[in-house]
Subunit: 393 residues, 4 copies
Amino acid sequence: MNDKLKEVLARVQAVLDEHIFPLDAEYHNKPWHLVVPYLDKVREKVKAAGLWIPQIPTEYGGLGLSVAAFGEVSALLGGSPYGHYCFNCQAPDAGNMEILIEFGTANQKAQYLMPLLAGDIRSCFSMTEPDHPGSNPTIMGTVAIKEGDEYVINGHKWFTSAADGAAFAIVMVVSDPHGNDRHRMASQIIVPTDNPGFKFIRNISVMGEEGSGWHSHAEIKYENCRVPSTHVLGEEGDGFSIAQKRLGPGRIHHCMRWIGICERAFDMMCKRAVSREITPGKTLADKQTIQNWIAESRAEINAARLLVRDAAHKIDTLGASQARIEISIIKFYCANVMQNVLDRAIQVHGALGISDDTMLAAWFRLERSARIYDGADEVHKSSTAKQILKNYR
Amino acid sequence: MNDKLKEVLARVQAVLDEHIFPLDAEYHNKPWHLVVPYLDKVREKVKAAGLWIPQIPTEYGGLGLSVAAFGEVSALLGGSPYGHYCFNCQAPDAGNMEILIEFGTANQKAQYLMPLLAGDIRSCFSMTEPDHPGSNPTIMGTVAIKEGDEYVINGHKWFTSAADGAAFAIVMVVSDPHGNDRHRMASQIIVPTDNPGFKFIRNISVMGEEGSGWHSHAEIKYENCRVPSTHVLGEEGDGFSIAQKRLGPGRIHHCMRWIGICERAFDMMCKRAVSREITPGKTLADKQTIQNWIAESRAEINAARLLVRDAAHKIDTLGASQARIEISIIKFYCANVMQNVLDRAIQVHGALGISDDTMLAAWFRLERSARIYDGADEVHKSSTAKQILKNYR
Amino acid sequence: MNDKLKEVLARVQAVLDEHIFPLDAEYHNKPWHLVVPYLDKVREKVKAAGLWIPQIPTEYGGLGLSVAAFGEVSALLGGSPYGHYCFNCQAPDAGNMEILIEFGTANQKAQYLMPLLAGDIRSCFSMTEPDHPGSNPTIMGTVAIKEGDEYVINGHKWFTSAADGAAFAIVMVVSDPHGNDRHRMASQIIVPTDNPGFKFIRNISVMGEEGSGWHSHAEIKYENCRVPSTHVLGEEGDGFSIAQKRLGPGRIHHCMRWIGICERAFDMMCKRAVSREITPGKTLADKQTIQNWIAESRAEINAARLLVRDAAHKIDTLGASQARIEISIIKFYCANVMQNVLDRAIQVHGALGISDDTMLAAWFRLERSARIYDGADEVHKSSTAKQILKNYR
Amino acid sequence: MNDKLKEVLARVQAVLDEHIFPLDAEYHNKPWHLVVPYLDKVREKVKAAGLWIPQIPTEYGGLGLSVAAFGEVSALLGGSPYGHYCFNCQAPDAGNMEILIEFGTANQKAQYLMPLLAGDIRSCFSMTEPDHPGSNPTIMGTVAIKEGDEYVINGHKWFTSAADGAAFAIVMVVSDPHGNDRHRMASQIIVPTDNPGFKFIRNISVMGEEGSGWHSHAEIKYENCRVPSTHVLGEEGDGFSIAQKRLGPGRIHHCMRWIGICERAFDMMCKRAVSREITPGKTLADKQTIQNWIAESRAEINAARLLVRDAAHKIDTLGASQARIEISIIKFYCANVMQNVLDRAIQVHGALGISDDTMLAAWFRLERSARIYDGADEVHKSSTAKQILKNYR
């Protein structure tokens, strides 16, 4: 870790400590429209501190951090549910920025990328479908048919995160339903959310919370949704390969964000352990079970962090395709570590742990999704094994 | 299981199938005041069917089921979040009925028990404190000082479930703070909730849900709360022994309720497995990981049920004090089985599993408390071991 | 549990306490020829006590216990590696007795069953093959071709337990290799071990131990092994159905034997916990981790026992085929409980636990096979799930 | 990892592939006196290849590898039970060399260190006692009383590994039983094994194996064992601090050795998965459970390796005392990963896995000790937690 990165991390930590951590427990159960004015102020401070969009190349106004370096930033930001948002590197916008930079036309960049980088608009990524398993994208049900110089999109999506209030969606569609090459069947198309064919159905209530704004997961129907054919990202048929590109850095982002959650939960667990008196003069910290949990959590978090760093380093040096095994491993490994650490932290807090007086309960319920989205544990395990076993045949 | 019980169970199941299961998924995320009119209608049907308060002796208008027999009923009712409520055997009222029957004076019974049995009022049980661990009741902070023929109660309680809308609380207090016998230090006192010293602070938001009515967990302050000394249950100093009495049957009630949840989640998991197509002609049921989860869940649920039945049988035949080990074991064993089964059921459902379109997500987050209330896992494990090791010294 | 069974169990326990437990730790690492003279003396005492072959119908000289009742005996006998042998109800002889009683001709009974029941000879069951998975018996490689009134058997078996010193083997063979009905392809044939075509290759060293006599697992080749066609059990083609018959009671036998091991390991763990001083005045029993293990072990052993009892009861009342799910569940559930309990008991014993000064180490290594033989965990889990899911299609 | 190290690793791997791996499965169940002639030949090849005692500073004839660099070597050597022995870096000799180099007098070095480095003699380290827990060295029972210019040692040790055939022992004793400073109570003293007071009692049978030579664990009594006072290592009272010094590098050595075992077991598991046909055309590799195990094992082994590398790097750069938490974490983490990986590898091998036809069974039973020696899991977890919690008080 070089000195420049250390300095960036110190400044990121300072913003978190001063402006974000003190308020997140209070805000985290509030609706988005009450939270966002406060976050907008923090965003100004982040810009003023020169830390805005740290993951973005310098020519686009970012800090130009490598995947590995941004991973370290992400591990800090993950400590707050608002960390990434305040630095404008939150999912799904960060991924959309990334593919617009790599695949966007000049017009697409002007119209969609630049305001996104500026933080003036938000976006969403519309892939998951209620009626088809995410693990097999070749049997997707949303179809874009080319008519003249337009695409006509019809389909049913859900868990389109942050669609509520977004300016545009990047939609994953089947553009060549009868094609022979299943890796060329799909495309990604930009759809402005004010398009009359973009039907916002609802914010899906998730783990007791309907959410709103950036913090939401929408059900969307595309009903004869017509967009100019220039809205396709890259070439028609590039949908899968663009999705693959997006994969590696996004995985590091998420896994490090989870590690940020783990670190904060771990810290809370330790503080609780030393402060909760059980019998006069004896605290939870004196109980061996609690000691076991602290030691096991520390071991698992350290292991998770080292695995993610190793994967990030491989992506930076060898490219994402050479790091496929590592990228799959960190997905299931880190998601499970997070669930374990949160579960233990809650148990150490007792009744307080299930209350919303701390953020532990929110993390426990909302981050349960980590083992499902972007490929369920089981999908990644099978995929990891198949990659490994190729060398044995 | 005798024929009479079989017949009762069949009729309970019929009420559930006809009146409760069809609507609970729709209602379970609604506020209490919208749910209760519907439940009141079901209660009338339960009364009409002669199944009201099944756990209560016949001389008080119930079915007079044994602990073991009521356990079987509870396992059915647990399948819905509203099952026990509809039969007026829900916590904490059921426990309060039980101790009022055993320890209540004629006046207490007339004023508090009878309307409770009739379903005309609700009640709560005020024990847990934010500042003291539930695992050591001798260092409780709520104190009742006798002044003349009144008790003056001061203290701070939380997680007083269902206090919102309850007519009275039974409050656990230290009545003899300087006493030598720590098992005679505490008393249970009836406090009407309209007492000016009973300060309702808030419904604590738990796992994202503030709740209301019966479905809530209140923070309460007792501030110079004066009640007649005739409001004590049993004798002054009986607090612990009454709490112990309450323990055994309540444990069976809860564990069987959890098994009811497990069974319904298991059923959902199986239905999903056979219906969710992954590749053409292949469903989740063909995946070995899903098969493992189904087999492991079936094994664990069966084991849990047999353990609870065994404990209930011991309570009925030998008394709760002879069944202490079994009663502790089922607490931690069943709560963990439930968490495992729910976790697997969610994973099988994928994105649907974390949405509130099924009840799985609500169970996952709200029943996380099962490993905490009534003694955390760790407390019961230590206590079980200490009981066992007594025979080795 | 009726009074007659209680009385039998008390007498079995007395034999164990007086004659078997005191010496098994000393004998368990000795070769079979040094152990067997001692065991023969105990066998005489068992006969004298009227407890010989408790699992066998009274008309054949046994106690005529039901599957469930013998299960209780087995749980006691399992406490010693020699328990079942001393009562002549050890695998694989017990299974062979059972199928000879049900399927044997008068001649087969006279020649093979009667001396087996008397304890004058031993036998083995030759099914597992090194080159074919046990989980799919239809691709077995050992073939019996009928020539005139003889079968000519060729094939390669291993893990033919107790073949060393056995008088005869019951061999599972494919008798109809080109048959259409895969459930009628196999037969079971009696082969005397002095047949020149029965080639004893070696006792396979298992977990560091070559073994000998009853305590061994042989590799066998059948090379043009000719036996009269009257040596077939039942009809030709009955091999699978006989194997199925054998299944249920054998499973109860094994699972209850494992529970016997668990109980003794649990007892050792508790004794060690209260006696091993860690710091002056504090023993292992004061450590919460040890308490956790004791509580978890007690819960799991109780659960295992109740599951086995439930399965045995179903076999006795409904038949093994109605209890298929229960029989599969106890196989994987109990084997894993045993491994967990032994692992914890060793850990509590520290260096002593891995030494052969107690029996824990031998159980840990030799009973690792429990998760493999008679169907690996994974096979039983898949099979359980498939049975359950039939009801959902 | 620099080029020099890569080149060393390649040459180490070549020796393993050519001379060690091909024979270890055949030799690993043989007694030491049959194995050692073969190993002596390999040792000559190692010397010839300039790879002898790689962990030892160049001025003593070694390769002078850092802790981290030797860790990488150890991970390779660990793949065979004979790897470390062939390079003369096996426990306990490697630890004894290390402390003799740091603390030995000129005479001690001439008499004990030089022949040890040359591979002409072996040694042992005598610390563990049957009657006292290893987790609390201050209540050790072996005492050395100074009489004139001699120490008189009395005490009872066991699990003194490799004592059988060793030329000398380094014995941990209490030299100041009534001292006030419990960290100055102990000393380490060199005792030649031909001293008449050094009573070799037995090689303790461990997990079914008595062992002999280097592969053994002895019980020793010290009965009025008189050695010159010049045999003390460092100063009297240095026993604990020398033991601490020994700790860090020894931990890396062991953990990396375990990772070597894991890698080889993992490799066997993969080979078995792709080669074992279950149904025609389908192998174990097609079963999702096997895929899960492969993926989980890969994740855990990678995590373990990264944790050990991180700890080794901290030892090299900051010193062992600054790496206490990391050193404790890898002990319990890696030992458990090894047990998990071996367990899965055995299960994938089925009956073959429990046979001694592969090394899996030997590793499974003999490396069970990894969770016990050098501090049981539980001791390290408590110690890790206490270190962490210091920062919270």
